[in-house]
């Protein structure tokens, strides 16, 4: 009987310890288990506040855009999903540098949009992602995190959060504008527009000749293994 009591007491103590650790960990993460999602919202807010002039409303106020400081590329995310729109979250880039480098726009894949000399890549969100129109750029992003969490990821080597735009295309921003905690170096790539090179190269682009875009290998995790993948990058240090 005494032995059973001891066992029960020990188990109860163990459960309490584990519960306490879980509670404290979740609390220190801001009351959520999705620490990546939460921190991405916080850091996105920092970005938006760092370059307010680069943030604008789009699509009659239904969407928001963050334009690169040189104006050549934009990241657009919706605050209200609509059946009619082809992409709810997208990257729009000036097609000229690619055309100059040999792009045959007719050879772009079907999921690439080309019109008015602008290449657009993106994804459609889950239907019903928003119950109403989001009033602010941040709240629209928050809605994205809440309802389409699979689009958000964390890039360890760059210490960046990112929104996946399909086909290897992404928009990334720094978790911390000051320091890359992975490399422990100063963060010099606060926002990065990322385009997948393969469809463009297949459409005739010579990657070494694209003006304004960096063609470089980027370390990414693929099936648990770190691999170097070439990307077209347009990084900006905004602070």
């Amino acid at each position: 009987m005494l032995e059973n009591k001891k066992v029960i007491t020990a188990i109860a103590a163990g459960v309490l310890v584990v519960a306490a650790i879980i509670f404290l960990a979740v609390e220190s993460a801001g009351g959520t288990l999705d620490v990546v999602g939460k921190r991405s919202v916080q850091s996105f807010d920092v970005i938006l506040n760092a370059i307010p002039d680069q943030v604008s409303k789009e699509d009659g106020g239904k969407a928001f855009a963050l334009t690169a400081p040189d104006g050549s590329v934009r990241f657009i995310w919706t605050g209200e999903t609509a059946e009619s729109s082809r992409f709810d979250v997208k990257l729009q880039a000036d097609a000229d540098p690619f055309i100059q480098a040999g792009l045959d726009t007719g050879k772009l894949p079907k999921d690439y949009d080309i019109s008015d000399n602008v290449i657009t890549v993106g994804v459609k969100l889950n239907s019903g992602s928003f119950t109403g129109a989001e009033e602010s750029a941040l709240s629209a992003y928050e809605g994205l995190v809440k309802n389409d969490r699979s689009l958000i990821n964390y890039h360890t080597d760059m210490d960046h959060f990112g929104v996946k735009l399909g086909g290897g295309n992404m928009f990334e921003w720094a978790k911390d504008l000051e320091i890359n905690v992975t490399t422990k170096q100063a963060q010099d790539k606060d926002i990065v527009f990322v385009l997948s090179p393969e469809p463009l190269i297949a459409a005739g682009v010579d990657p070494q000749k694209v003006e304004g875009w960096l063609y470089a290998p980027v370390p990414v995790m693929e099936n648990g293994k770190k691999v170097q993948v070439n990307k077209f990058l347009k990084p900006f240090n905004i602070k």
Binding site: A10, V26, V35, I152, Y154, T156
Partner: protein, 825 residues
Amino acid sequence: MENKTLDIRGMTCAACAQRIEKTVKKLPGISQASVNLASEKLFVEYDSSLDLSDIKAAVSRIGYEAAEKTEYSDVTIPIGGMTCAACARRVEKAIGKLEGVESSSVNFATEKATVAYDPRKVRLSAIKAAIEKAGYQALEVNKADAADEDRLRKQKEIKTLWTKFITSAVFSLPLLYIAMAPMISFIRLPFLSAIEPMNYPLAYALTELVLTAPVIGVGYKFYTIGFKALFQRSPNMDSLIAIGTTAAVLYSIYNTFQIAAGHFMAVDALYFESAGVIITLILLGKSLEAVSKGRTSEAIKKLMGLAPKTAVILENGQEKEIPIDEVEIGDVILVKPGDKIPVDGTVTGGHTSIDESMLTGESMPVDKKEGDPVYAASLNTTGVIQFKAEKIGSDTALAQIIKLVEDAQGSKAPIAQMADIVSGYFVPVVCVIALLAGIGWYFGTAGDLKFALTIFISVLVIACPCALGLATPTAIMVGTGKGAENGILIKGGEALETAHKINTIVFDKTGTITEGKPKVTDVLPAGSILKDRLLQLTASAERGSEHPLGQAIVLGAKESGLTLLEAEQFDSLTGRGIKARLEGEDILAGNRKLMDEQNISLAGMEEISDRLAEEGKTPMYVAINGELAGIVAVADVVKESSRAAIERLHKMGIEVAMITGDNKKTAAAIAKQVGIDRVLAEVLPQDKSNEVKKLQSENRKVAMVGDGINDAPALAQADIGIAIGSGTDVAMESADIVLMRSDLMDVPAAIDLSKHTIRNIKQNLFWAFGYNVIGIPIAAGMLHLLFNGPLLNPMFAAAAMSLSSVSVLTNALRLKRFKPDTGKR
């Protein structure tokens, strides 16, 4: 000096055993202390200045439990006549007052008394008498014996360990999966996206924590025992596991909070799965160990289970079946065909054949008639006999054999003592190596704590000397048990270790190489005396002699129908013969030495005497009133197995000598018959040990084989004394090895068993140490440092350690397959 055996609980490895030994040896009054990890016993010899409770207290102070090894029996006695709880209290008190009663508890509701008592101090009949005296009835008893209790306890221990292992595995397998699956690049394994480590690192970490907690819970003993030993500055195997896994878990919890604080790459520095899998694998090793340990002690359990539980006594002509504990010396016991003999005694009526194979290994049943001894646990085959109980309880031959085997299993071979000394220092040294390696790599990698911690944990885990403490005792247990099964009782680990080094064996002649039942072959009068008269006088003179040759002459005369005369005087002249006075005549009978001393001429009979000696016969000269009267020749037949046994010993590279008081020619003839290399003849009994010493001075390891009674000094002088064909107290006392049968083939079998056992011990030590020796440098990063080679993952280290224990035990169990080469067995 007192000798005691205590059961020790709480030991987990050789370091524990070493620690207990050291602690006990420090007590004043202790002469010897030896701990056997495999059988969990402490054997201690101490003087009267010390009390057993002091020894138990000393063991308890360092965190272990010592219980007096008693042959406590548990019995449940139904009680009649109780009417209330007060009656129950009264019965309890009455039983409790008896010396030898450990505990008694009377339950009024069930009307039963549960009593634990030492049958050596108090009999069941006395307990029942106390109940009757208190005014109640002691009804039919229900008894469990100590062997069953021990078996049940061991089974419970095994079940507990398996339950812990399975519980641990149930949680650590998914833990391992979620830790490894994201890292496997060549195949995409299914994985819950909600805990994907890169996207949901906190959920991932907490899931691992939740799965690890129950594993730590079932492995709690590693921490309670391990840290306790560490704080008492005597770290053991559990300390290594406790430190390693605690470091892994605490570091992982720290990194969990780092993740919560936004340092997501801390997800790569989680070690929950290492801790979980280490505990699981070590539990697996422990479970397999417990099962194997149970099997290594099967021989003892088999012996313990041989004795029957009841006996049929004849009381006033009536048969009465009683528990074996109630048999008293002098009881007449009835044994029917198919029954086991319950105690030792002497046949008083009837005749039968008894199968004594479970005691001696001899497969042929032995005929028994009135006056013949019978032994407990032997099997009555054909007839009905009655016998008088002479030795009961712990005095029976069976009990002595069990005790001998138990003591042998508990004793330390020198090689085991060396292993214990090493293991005592091993754990602290490993802790230092782990610390140095961890710190070295921390600074060497410019502060990579994760790398340094992996090294630290791996060294601790791979260096666990779990198997080291089992390497020797398991082999000795199996080896001595195997010997006991074949009638070869080896009295200790030291005897086992020395026996395999023997290169010379000295056999006593009479009763060892020969049957020991000499017969009269020739009666040759010298002068006018008649043959029968010569034999009659010689036999009458030899009546007082205990010498086999003298007794053969007496038997020869009786067989010839001669009446023996009363001797007026008798003197035994050791090593020479006898002197007696019969019907006014002085009779001398003995060897040539005696005749020369007494100046009796052997003229006319010397040639005859030489001829007889060359035929292997022993001529006994007989002189009457100072004149040679004739020769009575006696011959002892060589045992069937003698030649074969000596041939076998030669094949083993052992030189064989024969020692005898017999004359040189007779000795040489016998020696030639059986193939003896060296003959030591005409040796007086008191000089036998000197002959052994002379051989030892030639730098030889000498074994002496004799019957133990008059060979005691030579047996003691020899490096190994082997008593043959006797289970008596004297033989068991003086010899290192006791052979239950008279078959000389058991001698090479015993040496062979010793060689196999020592070889097995060495193999076990290799398996035990090999993993550590190879693993520690790899775990410490030496290959990585020198050749950029591989490191040792802590989980692989744990697997290797479990494999090490399993290897040692499996190898020890191989010894069970040993079959002695005994020729015709």
